[in-house]
């Protein structure tokens, strides 16, 4: 780790690091509401998220790289979400799944709902829909992998925010 922080990585090394990181994302599932069921469908037999290198069911957030916030975030739930996010080690990524996690969704005027999980934790990819189809979550994962492949690993490890790279048009999974 220390080397990565001090030395500017040569291009091939950072490409290799990014390439290996993006295909072994351990996914912490934060299934809160309806989207949690569709996230389950994305993991289960027909859609099979594991073929994209996303591994569900980590034993704890301390082993996870990716947090998927799927569902309505209420004000009471906001603190536990922040806590789970803080438990995850850097580098970490967040996918906000569904309209509720994005912006409040159909509960935009509710007194109890947080209007967007990005008020609590930084979000990398937003997946729209109410709830999004499992294919939409898979597309979100591909977008995240494209983002990872354009990153500077040393900055990410230091916790710096990387400017979002220009995302190429969706083609082959990962776009390598």
């Amino acid at each position: 780790m220390a080397v990565i922080e001090k030395v500017k990585l040569p291009g091939p090394a950072s490409w290799l690091l990014n390439w290996s990181r993006k295909y072994s994302l351990w996914m912490m599932q934060f299934g809160l509401a309806c989207c949690g069921i569709e996230m389950g469908a994305a993991i289960a037999s027909k859609f099979d998220i594991i073929r994209f290198g996303v591994i569900p069911f980590p034993a704890s957030p301390r082993q996870a790289d990716l947090l998927v916030v799927a569902g309505t975030v209420t004000d009471k739930m906001a603190a536990p979400i922040k806590r789970v996010y803080d438990q995850m080690p850097e580098p970490k990524y967040v996918i906000s799944m569904g309209s509720c996690a994005n912006c409040g969704g159909p509960y935009w005027d509710s007194y109890a709902v947080t209007k967007g999980v990005d008020q609590i934790i930084p979000v990398d990819v937003y997946v729209p829909g109410c709830p999004p189809r499992p294919e939409a979550l898979l597309q979100g994962v591909i977008r995240l992998q494209q983002k990872i492949s354009g990153e500077n690993p040393s900055e990410k490890w230091l916790g710096h925010t990387t400017p979002i790279p220009v995302i190429p048009e969706p083609g082959l999974a990962g776009g390598v």
Partner: protein, 397 residues
């Protein structure tokens, strides 16, 4: 393919095991129990086995749960206040998201309540289609229970099988309503539009496939000795306790209460179909599982009969352009997949309801949890939580 017998036959084959409930303090407590310091164990709100954001504060003494206190409210979205700001057509889409496993069953009592207040006659075709869609949704919900209960007890295979069947039925429902989970299809007066071509064939194929494969799936769990030992005589909810806590639906039927709103107080056209109310006498985790799985077959029977008798005709009654319920109040109850769902609608003559009180099944069912969990072992806690199949959105609203 071995046939699965009645609950008593299946139970007879299970080997003996230690009693699940720890002897109460007093009788055997003095010599039989080794007291340790009490500890409070926090389960949730983020815990994969609580399917949702359920939190349990468990006071444990060694391995024994001496007190369990469910903490709810992590999914409270303020439904009863939100519906006062929306007109009746908008509410349909909102209540669909209340219990996310049975969207279309939630829309039904609202539509029935508005129809009762406005005295709208619903054409028979719409009523039959409502029954078909409700029962297909019930199958989806129960398959989800099969998936999650297996996974909670350590068997991940049922999840993959159940989701495969769910996809087939969901595809038919999506072709009809446009939604995979939230349908927004029932309107006051009827349904949104007629079913597309191929609906009958698709629904029949999907339902029959479930019936064909269900015995195999059941055997995966019921034929498994580990599953039996983890569920039989675990988490007993007696009949009187189930009554006093207001438990309804499959959880109550697992305790020997043969109560089903579809039979006792038929709404729509349920009185025209031949189906049985499944119940089991013991009230433990195994019986609750058995009842829930058996209901899939009953729902499939209803779908087949309803498709057979599906009449032609219009799908919408005479409904004014602006839905404006007259002044009055009405209570409607329906059999949700998880129990009795009631809606108490008070109207002051506006386009929006003055008040909508929602009585949800999971909320009442979960109130019995602290009773059932008392004096059980920590290792049985997840089995009990899983067998009380509750949906957090339904509890908190």
């Amino acid at each position: 393919m071995a046939k699965v017998g009645s609950p008593s036959e299946e139970r007879a084959g299970a080997r003996g095991r230690v009693p699940s409930r720890h002897p109460e303090e007093g009788a055997a407590g003095a010599e039989g129990r080794f007291k340790t310091e009490e500890m409070i164990l926090n389960v949730g709100p983020q815990h994969p086995a609580t399917h949702g954001v359920f939190r349990l504060l468990a006071t444990i003494d060694g391995e024994v749960l001496i007190d369990a206190d469910p903490v709810i409210g992590y999914m409270h979205r303020g439904y009863e206040k939100l519906v006062e700001q929306r007109d009746y057509r908008q509410i349909t889409n909102l209540v669909s998201r209340m219990d996310w496993l049975s969207g279309i069953n939630n829309e039904l009592p609202l539509a029935l309540a508005v129809e009762k207040l406005m005295e709208i006659e619903v054409p028979p075709r719409a009523q039959y289609l409502r029954v078909i869609l409700c029962e297909m949704n019930r199958i989806l919900n129960h398959l989800m229970f099969f998936a999650s209960f297996g996974a909670e007890l350590g068997a991940i295979t049922p999840t993959f099988y159940a989701f495969r069947e769910r996809e087939d039925i969901q595809r038919v429902m999506e072709a009809t309503t446009g939604g995979r989970m939230h349908f927004g299809f029932f309107r006051p007066g009827g349904i949104k539009e007629d079913v597309p071509e191929g609906f009958v064939e698709g629904a029949l194929a999907g339902v029959r496939q479930v019936i064909d494969r269900l015995p195999d799936y059941e055997n995966l769990l019921v034929g498994n000795e580990i599953f039996k030992q983890r569920t039989i005589d675990i988490g007993i909810l007696e009949e009187e306790a189930a009554y006093s806590y207001g438990v309804s639906g499959p959880i109550a039927r697992g305790s020997g209460i043969t109560m089903d709103v579809r039979k006792d107080e038929p709404y729509l056209v349920y009185d025209q179909f031949d189906f049985d109310v499944q119940s089991a006498p013991n009230g433990d985790c195994f019986d609750r599982f058995w009842v829930l799985i058996r209901e899939v077959g009953e729902s499939a029977r209803i779908v087949e009969q309803a498709i057979e008798g599906l009449p032609p005709g219009p799908i919408m009654g005479k409904v004014p352009r602006v839905i404006q319920a007259p002044e009055g109040e009405v209570y409607v109850r329906c059999e949700n997949p998880l129990g009795e769902l009631g809606m108490y609608l008070v109207s002051d003559g506006d386009r929006r309801p003055y008040r909508l009180k929602i009585r949800t099944p999971s909320y009442s069912n979960v109130s019995a949890l602290s009773y059932v969990l008392k004096n059980t072992y920590v290792s049985d806690m997840i089995a009990i939580l899983g067998s009380f199949f509750f949906v957090l959105g339904d509890i908190d609203r």
